[in-house]
Symmetry: C2
Subunit: 314 residues, 2 copies
Amino acid sequence: MRKDYVVGVDIGGQTAKIGIVSRGGNILVRKVISTKYNEADEFIDLLCVSIRGMAADIGLENINGVGVGAPDGNYYTGDIVEATNLMWAKGKTIHFANEVSKMLGGMPVTITNDANAAAIGEMKYGAAKKMKNFIEITLGTGVGSGIVVDGKLVYGHDGFAGELGHTCAVRGGRECGCGQKGCLETYCSATGVARTALEMLSKSKVPSLLHGMQEITSKDVFDAAEKGDKLAKDIFEYTGKIMGEKFADFIPFSAPEAIILFGGLTHAKDYFMKQLVDSMNENVVFLWKGKVKVLVSALNESDAAILGASALAW
Amino acid sequence: MRKDYVVGVDIGGQTAKIGIVSRGGNILVRKVISTKYNEADEFIDLLCVSIRGMAADIGLENINGVGVGAPDGNYYTGDIVEATNLMWAKGKTIHFANEVSKMLGGMPVTITNDANAAAIGEMKYGAAKKMKNFIEITLGTGVGSGIVVDGKLVYGHDGFAGELGHTCAVRGGRECGCGQKGCLETYCSATGVARTALEMLSKSKVPSLLHGMQEITSKDVFDAAEKGDKLAKDIFEYTGKIMGEKFADFIPFSAPEAIILFGGLTHAKDYFMKQLVDSMNENVVFLWKGKVKVLVSALNESDAAILGASALAW
């Protein structure tokens, strides 16, 4: 029997977004639930009850499967492994796909990390529709990546491939939550931008709207840049420069047609895109100078993760 | 008709090695010809005459195809593109596969770069026989790489993927022949080792067999290390440290089961392997600490390139 629907689930540190998606990529029903539970069972119960409720009209028998994008989700094992951003998966291995499948009468459940889900969504519905080789970079609280080679997502030997946020941008640089130093994520995520702001503010006497703030977020820096603040603009330019240096290192690996940026930080693209592209082309070996496109995701941000995750289930 | 033989051709800056190879990977006939011609036509003529001669006993009709490993060989187009090490291909695009095929009566000819050919050889006959995800690093005059993901070589959008020798090891570091600065190749190739030797000698007053030499090669450094020379050992340890730092950056891309070293410099492995592995595990994100094997190629060096190239032709 041809089943015409799938379920896409995007799990984040605060909430999970659930959608029932048609073959054409239309989200028919949406629901948001909390992920702030202490025990995995509590969350999984709520998730499965929600899916059953959302599918009541369509009928569970018309659903082809569930695709899940989650931090530290492993495609091969179906597990969520030591996800520091999920209270119920911190330091633990949760057999997530298996558990959800059991509670949904054996329905196939596929899981991958959130950046991989975004890459799949981009390929099926977004800026990478006709591409076979590209890299999706997610710029949010952290920096994630999904790498597509010859039309397929790269999972690697253990299912964890594509952790470009934890390659080294600055040798011996900023401390990262992962335990290493100088990771790309510590410079080019939303929190990385805030760290750059604090560093630059401590050194600069140039007047800036950012001086004197108790706490600074990347949103504050963006708002200041929008008002013409020179230091705020410098912060984004520095971010773009570092990103470009690392992109120049990613390109020789897989020779992508494009690198596609996704996530909250892309709102500030006008302030870092030129520096990013210049720095990338300056640092990349001659074979690819001026040849690799840097694009911004064509996916609606709030739907992308659901669509990407759902695409796993076809 | 089942054809039982292929031709493998390994093109280098000085010579090309040609072999007729059976399905089992036995090299039946070998020949070495010069590659030092000014015009591509001259070399292609000689190559094709040689292949016809070598195949006389077997019969050209029993040969399935020709596989070629060549610097800057492009798998998609069959061209050799601006190969600085080949007099007849410097600054030019040579439609190599096409020309050779024409002269051999339309026989299929497949080309790729030499490091990719080594990776294919490793997968079919060497240390990567049962692996689906690994990275082959060739340590010769330069540093090359062939990346295998899910059992397939990564060619990327344009066919040039896998140029890890030209990722940045030291920001603003040594000048590279490619025009960039700080490329891995400038530190971890045979010439890189010689450059490290010159740098260290100019700074060090420690007695060393290397002091006072007119010219230093990586072989000189190896010979000195074999005699217990402290500075020579330091040179290799530094080489291993830099290699490990970069390997730590390659792993998050494709999560390989192993990184396999191939080429002349591996003879000195006892002097850099420990530093390489330590530095890799120190710098890689926790997911892969202690998990990725670093192996030395199991291919006979003089046959590997022929075997790898020949495997392309099956």
